[in-house]
């Protein structure tokens, strides 16, 4: 089953502002292993056609794995504002 289809089952309350920001300078120059792509269980990180890592933060499950695993502090990661982001109904 595609991750997208699974995420579509979740209840998300989308904020207008992103809660994850990538410092492209750090990411492009210091990072060699792109841990964010490997760890994110929601498959939100990808490399765009300019070779930059980008994140589709809207589907974030808020586990924090990318932040913990990022080697060089390229990620600025916060929880979404109160009442926004994923709202688990079961889990």
């Amino acid at each position: 089953m595609q991750v997208d289809a699974k995420l579509a089952q979740n209840l998300f309350k989308l904020d207008k502002q992103a809660h994850i920001a990538i410092d492209q300078r750090i990411c492009a120059t210091l990072c060699t292993r792109r841990a964010c792509i490997a760890v994110c269980p929601a498959d939100l990180y990808e490399i765009n056609d300019r070779g930059q890592v980008v994140v589709n933060w809207e589907g974030c499950l808020e586990c924090g794995a990318c932040m913990i695993c990022c080697d060089n502090g390229a990620l600025s990661w916060h929880y979404p504002r109160g009442g926004y982001g994923v709202q688990y109904r079961l889990s």
Binding site: V3, K6, V39, A42
Partner: protein, 434 residues
């Protein structure tokens, strides 16, 4: 700045337990939860060990919205093309009362929030705390005096920090270290809807009873961790726990989410899920550093409870955290009640919290399991041994066109090949510590 007696940051089980305890003792307490409701941001594998908690808040548990009492424990070793499952069904799991229950957090946490509100706690959803306020002191190490949430600042005699495993607030305030990959695992799971009778048929359960099935071996591709299935009333929770350090250090292009798909496709797992519909997909970090990673538990004006205090324990066969969360919230509440009566909420006035945890199962069980996190770094535990057990048993059960030979000879041959080696002896020597 407005002021209340106690602020609890986070409405998960630890925070709500503290809130319930404080409100029950008549103290003024505000529980701030960033989700739409308590439990909206929480994930469990899920099973709660209730036995350690029955003496804590004994009035609470009869009405709790648990899913199923766990009557059957299964451990599946997954090898290359073979699987071995051990089933343990013991009266001691259920009698005189069930020792553990499967749970879903959105239900459990909302229920506990209601109980805390009944006692007079103000449980406020949609309130994300942005910072802990500290009194100016030398090197910024002053007393915690309240919180900031957006534009609002609220003061408190005591702040109970129950913000969860990531500890963003406490680490930026310098109260604990930033979480490291080496000490954390990624847990992620699906909740899959299945009719109650189907669940009972597939896991051989009496009506209403539940099963917990753990998987160890090839499914994590040599990485620390394993899979799990917990049966809920009308759904199952199926997921994986994988060490973050191993996950981020792989040299192939493996992505975490792919492992879950492969897990579901195992020949022994797929039939268990047939006809099921995915209802939700969730993920959470898990602290697995053991007692060595438990930070300083208290200071002037604050206490750490639950996951943010590193109070969780993966002992391979038993995985605990929610019982530690509720117990730490309880002990925090008892401590704070006393400190408020004595009008001393400094570190000295709150020191009893740590002694209480040291005398309770929380830090005792973490202490006796001190060696486990180090042991779990041994990749042979997650690859070689499950595979070797499966290979040995599969061989013993195989009848081919050729004469099979003596059973004892076949066992010895397999033992020499897979179990008698310097590496195994070393592993055995390290296992003595657990």
């Amino acid at each position: 700045m407005e002021k209340v007696e106690c602020i609890v940051v986070g409405g998960g089980l630890a925070g709500l337990s503290a809130g319930y305890g404080l409100a029950s003792a008549g103290r003024e307490v505000m529980v701030l939860e960033r989700g739409d409701y308590a439990g909206a941001k929480n994930v469990t594998g899920g099973r709660l060990y209730l036995s350690p908690l029955r003496a804590i808040y004994p009035e609470l548990w009869a009405e709790a919205p648990f899913e199923r009492p766990v009557a059957r424990e299964l451990v599946s070793m997954v090898g290359d093309g073979a699987q071995t499952t051990i089933e343990i069904a013991s009266q001691s799991f259920s009698e005189p009362v069930p020792q553990s229950y499967t749970v879903l957090r959105a239900r459990l946490d909302q229920w506990l929030a209601e109980r805390a509100s009944d006692k007079g706690a103000m449980v406020l959803p949609n309130m994300k705390v942005d910072a802990l306020l500290r009194e100016a002191g030398p090197d910024g190490s002053g007393r915690v005096i309240g919180i900031r949430a957006g534009e609002d600042e609220i003061g408190a005699d005591v702040v109970v920090i129950a913000e969860g495993v990531l500890g963003l607030l406490s680490s930026s305030a310098g109260l604990r270290a930033v979480p490291k990959a080496a000490h954390h695992a990624l847990g992620f799971k699906e909740v899959i809807e299945l009719p109650s009778e189907v669940i009972e048929d597939r896991w051989h359960l009496n009506p209403g009873e539940g099963a917990a099935q753990l998987f160890i071996g090839a499914l994590t591709k040599d990485m620390m961790g394993g899979g799990f299935i917990y049966t809920n009333k009308e759904s199952i929770s199926l997921g994986l726990v994988i060490g973050m350090e191993q996950l981020r250090s792989r040299r192939d292009d493996l992505e975490s989410w792919q492992l879950l798909d492969e897990f579901k496709q195992l020949p022994s797992v797929r039939p268990l899920l047939a006809g099921g519909t995915v209802l939700e997909y969730s993920a959470h970090a898990i602290a697995e550093g053991g007692i060595d990673q438990v930070p300083q538990l208290l200071g002037d004006g604050y206490l750490l409870v639950g996951d943010v205090a590193g109070l969780s324990l993966n002992a391979l066969l038993t995985v605990r955290g929610m019982d530690f969360a509720i117990a730490s919230g309880y002990h925090a509440a008892r401590t704070v009640v006393r400190a408020l009566e004595d009008k001393d909420t400094s570190a000295a006035g709150l020191a009893d919290y740590e002694s209480r945890l040291r005398n309770s199962f929380v830090l005792r069980d973490l202490e006796t399991s001190r060696a486990i996190p180090m042991l779990m770094e041994n990749p042979r535990l997650f690859s070689h041994y499950p595979d070797a057990v499966c290979r040995l048993l599969a061989e013993l059960y195989t009848v081919g066109p050729q004469p099979t030979g003596k059973l004892s000879g076949r066992i010895l041959r397999a033992a020499r090949r897979d179990f008698i080696s310097v590496a195994t002896l070393k592993d055995l020597w390290s296992f003595r510590k657990i």
